[in-house]
């Protein structure tokens, strides 16, 4: 109880302190707070400007990025414009000792930051990577007596020579929806031979999808090996359920009616479009259920105009997922089986279903680079800041992209929230966590906008509790623990005493038996 109360009081005090003495946090948009770049002249000195690659490095008494074991390695290409922002760790910013300052330099490029100190906690280097080779990022000898100086001597900058880019790897979609000018599909809940022009069977769920389109509408039939609900969702490639346009429904066991809902996936839940400001855009529907097999058929516009639905364009590839329940019609029941995130290509008029058709070049997803950092403002029970930088392979920031943050716990991955990247490709989240010791975090970019999904993990040792921050809890806790242990031991000691009484009862009988036999022998 006392621990809870104490942490609440500490949190309130910190909140008050934060309000009274606002500090620059990596959470915030630094656009208006970044100090003038003292080293911008370096850039000009090196001449030509190309795309910029951004890096953020935390400078602390524990070394670069808060750990002496962190192998700081930055790799860029020749000709890249490189921007490295060095930020003093939040904890160190409270240390107003005069020697608490750093100057970071990059050998070989002969550039260095202005002095980083609690009063000037950030400095940025911007330069053109025009020299090929390995260079050292280190704390300058000018600040030889600064905290953590020895731990910040081995950062590495690698500038690679430009290479001719290799052709992107081509990916074949899992399924194909052909164009059919005059569709023969009849929405009657049954799939006849050759009724649909294309079919796909999922290896995991054993569900079969029949489909085709006429340029304006999608004709779909989904078959499951169950009598419960059945669903198909369309969305971004690798997007899973989140944001997918989900058609879900069932055939009523009693009435035989087919109930279908045009829904939208939000994370791992789904909601009818009508609950999310949209409308049900299913044009026609039918279904049947017999011999443990359920069939649903429906027609859906390729472009419904509903914000909850995806606009399907011919000649492009989308993601889709399948799921069903073997017996439950209740749409809230968790699926019994679901497919992986699959992909489907919407065919162009006159395009035959190809055996080995390849992805269109303009559909190729670009690789992304996600880096995750964790900052702690103070010892445990205080907010933890999770921050990511999201860039493409050229280290150019991706702006306005969603990033979800998770903690990995003993009980699995726990989502704590999401955020969007700012103009520097930075997204961050503050979280108050009652956690000690090691923190394992994950950040995930689901992909989208032509970019591939990416994930980043981090394991960080959190600071230990200091004596000042927990006073007087340890004393109270020790006394309480001691009393509890004494009470428990007393109880178990009493049990042993009672068990001894039982043993003595038994022993008396043995003694009696022995003396009886002695007497009989004597007799």
């Amino acid at each position: 109880m006392s621990i809870c109360k104490l942490s609440t009081i500490i949190s309130l005090l910190l909140l008050l302190a934060a309000l009274l003495f606002p500090i620059s946090s990596p959470l915030r948009d630094h656009g208006s707070e970044i100090k003038p770049f003292a080293s911008l002249s370096v850039l000009e000195a090196h001449g030509q400007v190309s795309d910029t690659k951004f890096f953020v490095i935390v400078v602390s008494s524990n070394g670069f990025n808060g750990t002496d074991s962190f192998d700081l390695a930055i790799t860029v290409n020749e000709g890249d414009r490189v921007q490295i922002t060095f930020m003093m760790d939040e904890k160190d910013r409270k240390n107003v000792n005069l020697i608490n300052r750093h100057i970071i330099e990059i050998t070989g490029y002969a550039i260095q930051t202005e002095e980083i100190s609690p009063s000037n906690p950030e400095a940025t280097l911007v330069f053109l990577a025009d020299k090929i080779g390995d260079f050292t990022i280190r704390c300058s000898s000018e600040t030889w007596d600064c905290p953590g100086h020895r731990l910040m001597q081995d950062g590495r900058l690698t500038v690679k020579a430009k290479e001719a880019s290799s052709p992107p790897e081509e990916k074949i979609p899992d399924a194909f929806v052909p164009f059919v000018e005059d569709s023969d599909v009849v929405i009657d809940g049954e799939v006849g031979d050759d009724e649909y022009s294309s079919t796909f069977q999922d290896s995991i769920t054993k569900m079969t999808v029949y489909w085709e389109h006429n340029g304006t509408h999608l004709y779909v039939s989904v078959v499951s090996q169950g009598a419960g609900w059945i669903s198909i969702g369309f969305g971004y490639q690798e997007g899973g359920m989140d944001g997918a346009n989900i058609i879900i429904g069932y055939v009523d066991d009693k009435t035989g009616d087919t109930i279908l809902s045009d829904s939208v996936g939000v994370e791992w839940k789904h909601y009818p479009d009508t609950d999310r400001g949209g409308q049900d855009n299913i044009i026609s529907k039918a279904g049947s259920q017999q011999n443990g097999t359920t069939v649903i058929e429906f027609v859906f516009p390729l472009d419904s105009g509903d914000a909850n639905d995806h606009k399907f364009e011919v000649g492009r590839t989308y993601g889709f997922i399948l799921a069903y329940h073997p017996d439950a019609d209740n749409l809230l029941e968790y699926h019994a089986s679901r497919s992986d995130s699959l992909s489907v290509y919407i065919g162009i008029e006159g395009e035959a279903p190809p055996e080995n058709r390849v992805e269109q070049p303009d559909e190729k997803l670009l690789k992304t680079n996600l880096e995750l950092y964790v900052f702690t403002l103070c010892p445990p029970d205080c907010p933890v800041t999770l921050m990511v930088t999201l860039t493409d392979v050229e280290r150019r920031p991706l702006v306005g992209m969603p990033v979800a943050f998770y903690f990995n716990t003993t009980f699995g991955t726990f989502k704590i929230g999401s955020s969007y990247t700012d103009s520097r490709g930075i997204a961050s989240l503050n979280y108050s966590i009652m956690m000690r010791n090691t923190l394992e975090g994950t950040a995930s970019f689901p992909g989208g906008g032509g970019y591939e999904a990416s994930t980043a993990h981090i394991i960080k040792q959190l600071p230990t509790v200091t004596a000042e921050s927990t006073f007087p809890a340890p004393t109270a806790k020790n006394v309480a623990s001691g009393l509890a242990v004494i009470a428990i031991l007393s109880v178990w000691g009493t049990y042993l005493f009672v068990i001894r009484q039982i043993r003595d009862i038994s022993r008396e009988e043995r003694d009696f038996g022995a003396s009886s036999s002695d007497r009989s022998l004597d007799g």
């Binding site: 968790y334 428990i488 009672v498 009484q501 039982i502 038994s506 008396e508 009988e509 009696f512």
Partner: protein
């Protein structure tokens, strides 16, 4: 032969050992039925182990459903026993004698089945070892583990000690029985011969256990309540949860004893030992706790309501008029109002009326535990969130039914091996002179004294007056 009232010692022995030597067709049918229900539960649990907790209604938000409800319910019932038996023993209440054994057996079995529900609630029960290997003393779950283990050990000792003389009795007199039983009686009787030293040791052990088991029982349900109240969750974070849970536990515990009494009274023909008076005394105790529980309930909800915090109000609305209103008002009606009237009105204070009240109490108190556990979890904890839905699946219902059946089954088997009423304590009660007999003895003594005094006077007079 000693004869006091309408029972003789021989009659008492016959009546109390009657269930041990007779088992009719209906008994085997009943056991078969219970085994069938247990088998369904085993199948359900195997399904859960194979498929995971996804086959239950439990999800990330409502992760404690009827498993934890049952856990709290069974731990509550366990207070029936040892605590009530101990209080009556410590206060030397005479009418306790036919009840204590039943209460102590309920305690041990309820603790075993109650604890099992924690295992059922685990998606990965193989990881329970981590609780022992890596558990921290800061965690109320560890406190729970320690206190329940301690209580179970103490309850087994407290059940066993008063059993020793009866087991020895069965060892000596119940010779026409199976070899297993004879072996069991010989081993468990610990060589009891009823010597003065053995009696002294036994009484010492029973007295110590009776005293120590009371604070342990109180601490157990307090710790169970702390599992909830140590969190900051609205609906759980309450300072009165400790006493609230303890009172509720004894309340439902007494109700369980009454139900067990009426069943065994009828089946084992124990009408002479479990009389209306016993039911009335337990009924009065139950009524007292009923009123105490009403007081705690009003105090709990009124303070939350008066504070008016949005989260608390959201929860209260769901209970009073919202989605959990049916469960909540079932608790209020069945658990608190109906039993109070049934016992409070003299005309319904019969064995039937008191038993009906006890059944209502147990139904109502199960729902009380449900409305403690589930709504507080289902309430959205983030702004704009939605209420989680929770409906127990056939797996949870089957495991619950199997546990209840298992509880009844083991209790039934217990009564077939050991006397359900403490024979030696009843005998002791019968041998003890009643108040009227004491009065008669004292009167006789006085009369004898008066006569001898008169005789003395006469002899003195004759000495003084030789004429």
């Amino acid at each position: 032969m000693t004869r006091i009232g309408k029972n003789t010692l021989a009659e008492a022995n016959d009546a109390l050992t009657y269930p041990l030597v007779t088992s009719g067709r209906r008994y085997y049918g009943f056991v078969g039925l219970l085994l069938a229900v247990v088998s369904i539960g085993v199948y359900a649990y195997a399904t859960q182990l194979t498929e995971g907790l996804v086959v239950t209604g439990l999800r990330s938000q409502v992760m404690w459903g009827i498993y934890v409800t049952n856990f709290v319910f069974f731990i509550g019932i366990s207070h029936a026993g040892t605590l009530i038996s101990a209080i009556l023993r410590v206060t030397n209440t005479e009418w306790r004698r036919p009840i204590t054994r039943m209460a102590e057996a309920i305690t041990v079995l309820a603790l075993i089945f109650g604890g099992s529900f924690i295992i059922f609630d685990l998606g990965r029960p193989d990881r329970i070892q981590n609780m022992l290997l890596y558990g921290r003393l800061d965690s109320p779950l560890i406190w729970d583990l320690i206190s329940i283990t301690t209580y179970l050990t103490g309850s087994i000792l407290y059940l066993y000690l008063p059993l020793i003389p009866d087991i020895a009795d069965l060892r000596d007199n119940l010779t026409d029985t199976s070899r297993f039983k004879r072996w069991l009686y010989t081993k468990l009787s610990m060589g009891w011969r009823g010597t003065a030293t053995q009696k002294a040791r036994l009484e010492k052990g029973i007295k110590i256990m009776a005293v120590i088991i009371i604070p342990i029982a109180v601490s157990v349900h307090t710790v169970v309540s702390w599992v909830f109240s140590m969190t900051l969750r609205p609906g759980w974070h309450s300072t009165i949860f400790g006493p609230y849970f303890v009172v509720g536990a004894i309340f439902s515990g007494i109700a369980s004893i009454i139900i067990a009494m009426v069943v065994f009274r009828k089946i084992y023909r124990l009408e002479a030992y479990l009389t209306l008076q016993h039911f009335k005394y337990l009924g009065y105790m139950m009524l007292t706790l009923n009123i105490a529980y009403i007081y705690f309930t009003i105090s709990e909800f009124f303070t939350s309501y008066y504070g008016g915090k949005p989260a608390e109000m959201m929860l209260l609305n769901s209970l009073f008029t919202g989605i959990y209103a049916p469960e909540f008002w079932t608790f209020i009606t069945a658990g608190l109002i109906i039993p109070a009237f049934l016992i409070g009105i003299p005309q319904t204070r019969t064995i039937f009326g008191i038993t009906l009240a006890a059944i209502f109490v147990n139904i109502g108190m199960w729902y009380k535990r449900f409305v403690i556990v589930v709504p507080a979890l289902a309430r959205p904890s983030m702004p704009g969130g939605e209420w989680a839905t929770y409906t127990p699946t056939w797996v949870e219902v089957s495991i619950t039914a199997a546990s209840v059946a298992g509880f009844i089954l083991l209790f039934t088997l217990f009564t077939k091996v050991f006397p359900i009423i403490s024979m030696w304590e009843v005998r002791e009660g019968l041998e003890k002179p009643t108040r009227s007999e004491n009065h008669k003895v004292e009167t006789d003594a006085r009369e004898v004294g008066v006569r001898s005094h008169a005789a003395d006077q006469r002899s003195t007079k004759s000495v003084e007056d030789p004429s």
